[in-house]
Amino acid sequence: MASICFYFQVHQPYRIKKYRIFDVGHDHNYFNDHSDRDINNEKILHKVARKCYLPANKLLLELLNKHPEFKIAYSFSGVFLEQLETFSPETLKSFQKLVKTGRVEVLDETYYHSLAFLYSKKEFVRQVELHRAKVKKLFGVTPKVFRNTELVYNNELAKFAEGMGYQAILAEGADHILGWKSPNFLYRAPNARKIKTLLKNYRLSDDIAFRFSSKSWSEWPLTAEKFARWIDAVNGNGQVVNLFMDYETFGEHQWEDTGIFDFMRALPGELLKHPDNDFVTPSEAAKRYDAVGEFDAHSFISWADIERDLSAWLSNSMQNEAIGNLYALEKEVLASKDKSIVDDWSKLQTSDHFYYMCTKWFSDGDVHKYFNPYDTPYEAFIAYNNVLHDLRYRIEAAKKKKTHAKKLRGIKKKKTAIKRQKPVKPTKRKMIKKVSKKKVAKTKSKKRHA
């Protein structure tokens, strides 16, 4: 029996506008580009909603109505949901409609689509809790499965997610860890007891997400029938095929004219032709199947690039410096208790910012360039670095305001205290005067000296 488990990632970052050193101290709005460039968040959201979210949602709702066996799962970043609320409530409604069918599972992730787990466990927990609350508020459900930003994963994270009460966690079926093992089973991290790890079948997933429209691919054109045959082949040597991909595959990465919507329209019917196939959500998979072995990820893996590691976000010294500077502010930011400072600092954690600074493939001009709204990684870094300056400036300002307020309170207290004080005896008063005169003389002579 082969269960098909679809999970779609839905995320849009708050891209930073062209923010220059001259803006520091003057302009505290970092994400409000209104130009025609691809750093205009509202423009991008509308564009992707039109090309992908709305038509894809419509199609999936249609499929859910047509096939009672069909199931899917989404993971929405918090910053994406926030942008839907502000820019496109209509799109939000169409997602809510899907979740209401009861056959669409919502997963948890970090609210800000961040790499917080690598830098601050405390911040990580704060963001996961924020996300859980947001999902509960918008969809009325509480996720049982966790997926970390860009499928960044290691053993420690699995254990940590188990501690937070999740039943399953998603990861990349990375060859260098799987070895001869198949991604089509459930696994367990060596240090975990209960939580199960679901692994992305990257070959089959990427056939849809990346290769679908590639005419140089020997399997092009990919039909639903052909794809269903590949899934059928798993029968007997696998239990669940995890098809994990960006939701933007539909209509945005693969444009409508590639036939991606028609492919998806036909796929569930083709898959269900085989009597042993069915659909599961990640939490159902975890409930139904046992872990067959260990998946031992000592160091971090992810679903990005051929390296399947962290190098897309953290390979050059700009990226490391930027993220280091950001998390160095954590204590002060949270201590400021200033909502807008905390909010902006959090939005600056979104992994995309560091992805835009990646120089790995910059020269070759492949996907990194395609997904980079800035002309160069350097431009991305400079805007980010300037924003951090402004944020520091705001933190300092907030601190001063606080100490100022404290002082004011202190003065008020003193005044009332003085009023209540009994008159000081004359002898003592004289002594105080003498002392203070001496002090004044001392400081004066010092000044002259200088």
Binding site: R20, I21, S317, M318, Q319, N320, E321, T359, F381
Partner: protein, 404 residues
């Protein structure tokens, strides 16, 4: 493969050059001579001050180059005014033209003799001063003429060309069988301003001799660096083309944010006094240093001492100094109006007139170690692919295409 004989009309070589053209002629012919091409290099020879033996020394180990000299007062970057100045001091017994243009004509006529004496398969002339020589040589031998454009009158004058020079350039470009442009930027100028069809112009980017820039050298400006000062460097002739005035304005803007910065201007030219005055007027006497014309190891030391090299050229056909800076491990900010920006990925790029954009980038490089490191490291790797071997290979292909 058949050995090709090139009759090349070129210019001064290092260490006697005053700019990139000499470096380019030198680098290109050295690499050509290793690519089964023999070069007969025709060099203008000023009567006084030219070291004859030098050429033999520098090319002692390269068999494929032969030198011919022609007596003339012209040299690259010469202007009609400068020529008149020369003429006044030239020895009387020598025959020179009445003015620069007359001299260019005379140089061309001399080229006929050389073309008659030296057997060759193809003619290659560098920049407008030698175009006429190329045309005259072809008149004698009937061999294909390739003209190589390192700069046009539009670049040199910031868009206000001298009509005579423009006409000379135009004549050479139209007469040529093929035009080599040092960048797409230059090709565009040629097509747009000289009425040349696209397909006649081939882009061959300049290269750099990497070995020369790997020498171990003592550190320069250590006393300044020891004080924690950052250094921003400008290298180029102080002429309208190089935009030194923009560099001074950028310096002013950067100093508002990074007061502990020293701006070093290396080079000389007709704008020198203007630039010094401008710096003084802006109150930057302390923060801008004029190093004068610097070359070779001294220049390499300057590159290495700097935190960032900035090229503010208004119109830069190529910009070899940017490559040199990267080869010496110092990151660069170059104007988008430059040929070198086409071949480099890991470089900061701005419009030459966008003072704020340049200042923003410079301030960030000065204060972020991560940005500086990434640019320096990847920029140095970037420049490794830019070689004279590759340029010479492309030129050899052009020769072969025109011989077939």
């Amino acid at each position: 493969m058949k050995n090709i004989r090139v009759l090349m009309f070129g210019w001064e070589f290092p260490p006697h050059n005053s700019g990139g053209l000499g470096t380019a002629c030198y680098g290109l012919s050295k690499s050509l001579s290793r690519a089964n091409v023999s070069v007969i290099f025709v060099l203008p020879k000023k009567l006084d001050g030219f070291d004859h033996d030098f050429l033999k020394i520098i090319f002692a180990n390269i068999r494929n180059i032969k030198f011919r000299e022609m007596q003339t007062l012209i040299h690259p970057y010469i202007t009609p005014d400068v020529y008149d100045e020369y003429l006044r001091t030239a020895p009387e017994h020598e025959l020179y033209g009445l003015n620069l243009f007359d001299e260019v004509r005379r140089y061309g006529l001399q080229a006929r003799n050389i073309a008659r004496e030296e057997a060759h398969d193809v003619i290659h002339a560098h920049d407008w001063l030698s175009f006429r020589a190329g045309i005259e040589a072809r008149r004698v031998s009937g061999k294909p003429l390739i003209v190589h454009v390192h700069a046009t009158e539009f670049d040199r004058t910031g868009g206000h060309p001298n009509q005579y020079i423009y006409d000379e350039e135009r004549r050479g470009l139209h007469a040529a069988d093929c035009i080599v442009a040092v960048s797409q930027h230059t090709k565009n100028v040629i097509v747009e301003h000289y009425g040349i069809r696209q397909h006649k112009v081939v882009v061959v980017h300049n290269g750099i001799d990497h070995a020369e820039h790997r020498k171990a050298l003592p550190q320069a400006l250590t006393h300044i660096r020891a004080k924690g000062k950052k250094i921003v460097l400008f290298v180029g002739r102080l002429t309208i083309q190089k935009g030194p005035d923009y560099f001074v304005r950028v310096a002013k803007r950067v100093l508002e944010f990074e007061p502990n910065t020293l701006f070093v201007i290396s080079g000389s030219g007709d704008m020198e006094h203007q630039i010094i005055r401008q710096a003084a007027d802006l109150g930057l006497g302390e923060q801008i240093v004029f190093a004068g014309f610097v070359r070779d190891e001294e220049l390499m030391k300057l590159y290495r001492a700097a935190d960032l090299y900035v090229m503010t050229s208004v119109s830069e056909p190529f910009g070899l100094t940017a490559l040199e800076s990267l080869a010496n491990g110092t990151p660069i900010l170059v104007s988008k109006q430059s040929g070198v920006s086409e071949v480099l990925t890991h470089a900061l790029k701005s419009d030459f007139w966008d003072i704020d954009d340049m200042a923003d980038k410079i301030v960030n490089v000065l204060e972020s170690k991560g940005l500086h490191e990434t640019l320096a490291e990847l920029g140095a790797k970037d420049v490794e692919h830019v070689t004279w071997e590759s340029a010479a290979g492309k030129c050899a292909d052009i020769y072969r295409n025109h011989l077939a």
